[in-house]
Symmetry: C2
Subunit: 224 residues, 2 copies
């Protein structure tokens, strides 16, 4: 079968003929923009692989303040380290396609293929490392450093996957990006404009960026 993420997702850990075990327990699901795939507080029942579209994971405070803890794009995995109750909500940024693996059955497959479990462990490590980077960003970086970090992260996500289709789709709105970076949407917008004025980026549409000076953005992102 031809799956868009065959080579990136956890499936990449298995050979073609081994994949059938995963496929038999798997179901597809489509989530429309703005709809939640899972809710904070739910007991987790599935692990998911993002095939198309994108998700934001977020936690919220009683008065509506939100912190997006991660954006998940095609090839990413959700539910690695699941915990009851689920500590975040996952909501679709656009129409999003996922495949869902029910937990109990997934564990059976895990026991059969240790390569899967290993892959799983590196996913966790990567996730923890990414999340620590994000804490540094939220706790210590300025607005420009935050946006630059986001743009570099985004460019990295597209790398190798697609040909460098120069304009990158942002997927998220200014408000989503703000909730990810711990800023307000106005500050995000102003910082985009500032980067544009400085010639670091172009914004053909509000939803697409071109990185004109990636090196400089990388320097800014790391606080250099």
């Amino acid at each position: 079968m031809s799956c868009k993420v065959r080579r990136q997702a956890i499936c990449a850990a298995l050979a073609d003929h081994e994949l059938t075990d995963l496929e038999t327990i798997m179901t597809h699901r489509i989530v429309d923009r703005g709809q939640a795939l899972v809710y904070e507080g739910d007991p987790p029942a599935f692990a998911y692989n993002i095939i198309d579209g994108g998700l934001k994971l977020y936690k919220s405070l009683a008065d509506g303040r939100i912190q997006v803890t991660a954006f998940l794009l095609p090839g990413d995995f959700l539910g690695i380290s699941s915990r009851s109750p689920l500590p975040f909500t996952a909501e679709a940024l656009t129409r999003t396609e996922v495949c869902a693996f029910p937990y109990p059955k997934l564990e059976v497959v895990f026991e059969k293929y240790s390569a899967l479990e290993e892959r799983f462990l590196t996913e966790v490590s990567d996730e923890v490392a990414a999340v620590q980077d994000h804490m540094l960003l939220l706790g210590r970086k300025t607005a420009s450093e935050r946006l630059a970090s986001f743009l570099i992260w985004l460019a990295g996500k597209y790398e190798g996957v697609a040909p460098p289709t120069v304009p990158l789709a942002l997927l998220a709105t200014r408000a989503d990006i703000a909730d990810y970076l711990g800023l307000t949407l106005e500050t995000v917008s102003r910082t985009f404009s500032q980067f544009k004025r400085q010639g670091f980026i172009e914004l053909p549409h509000a939803t697409e960026v071109v990185l004109r000076n990636r090196e400089r953005l990388e320097e800014i992102a790391t606080g250099a």
Copy 2:
């Protein structure tokens, strides 16, 4: 043998007679205040169990800005999701005692006792959940909400472990707490003073707190 953390650390997953397998591969290590146990960028060689004292994990920016991503106290585990290179530095807050498990040997023990591996997984889930809470704190909470969250977290750490020895040892300096909460040490100090004035806490010494009104602090911490 009598280990202070026998009932909390990962060791709790094993019966007494099974512990010998862990003990034979384990070595003790003492780290003095201010000394690093491991450095950001190192290849990870050991997993550690904190027995006494405390550690701060942190990442830093080129210009010296620091974000403490976690404080580890007795019973906590370090190196769950290890990754090469290590994404953080671990430094002792006071003279700290740990036991160290070399990775390759640890994996052998893991294969023997699946209870250990399970325990390990719940540790990871807890860690990921905690880290997401901390992102919400860093991205969206006010100074008072941050310090209240820290105090509640601290109280939770001591709970059940020791008898409610009313004054809690802070272990960390104002600067460490500031680096954990994404604030400056002055703001942390002012917020302590403010809580004291409001009667929420007492500060018998600068290094010890008594929570006089834990409920109110919990409300503040959650943004209520």
